[in-house]
Symmetry: C2
Subunit: 98 residues, 2 copies
């Protein structure tokens, strides 16, 4: 059984390329620190559709409990507070069994 | 190279369980009809987080062009117009290279 966590983020218009890159860089370090993360794929929107959000994250875990470890992990929370929240306009998320 | 399409959907409050199930059922038929779909995982939100959207879709393709075939395919468009739009409150999407 795989427990999937999907997050889509939309940035504020004034977000700089450096700030956006810092999100990718910060999140990309998490798999090495949070072993519960079985798979973690991230990326900026490809720009092929109107009205899309700006960034996508798909994380996979063995269980909801393992997802909670990731969700509450201090390093993850640090990326959220220091890098994501300052440039966040909107966030959409779903977790589901795959 | 994999081109990933991620969509999160939020339903209107009055959406019935039958209407929600009809979306899953309709979308689940698409891989058999649209060979460009290399991987297609769908599911209702697990309800473990406040403020989540209600349904997640992750489709994977060999290229953006294959994604466009899926996006514009009449069977896909039919599920959107007949099953998704009537109960749709919000939609967030991102496509990115994985």
């Amino acid at each position: 059984m795989t427990f999937r966590h999907i997050v889509l983020l939309k940035w504020i218009d004034s977000a700089t390329d450096e700030q956006k890159a810092a999100v990718l860089e910060g999140l990309s370090k998490l798999p090495a620190e949070i072993p519960q993360l079985r798979s973690y794929t991230l990326g900026p929107d490809a720009g092929v559709s109107e009205g899309n959000y700006d960034f996508g994250i798909v994380g996979e875990f063995d269980s909801a409990e393992d997802f909670f470890v990731y969700r509450d992990h201090p390093l993850h929370q640090q990326v959220i507070s220091e890098r994501i929240k300052p440039i966040l306009a909107a966030r959409a998320a779903v977790q589901h069994q795959v």
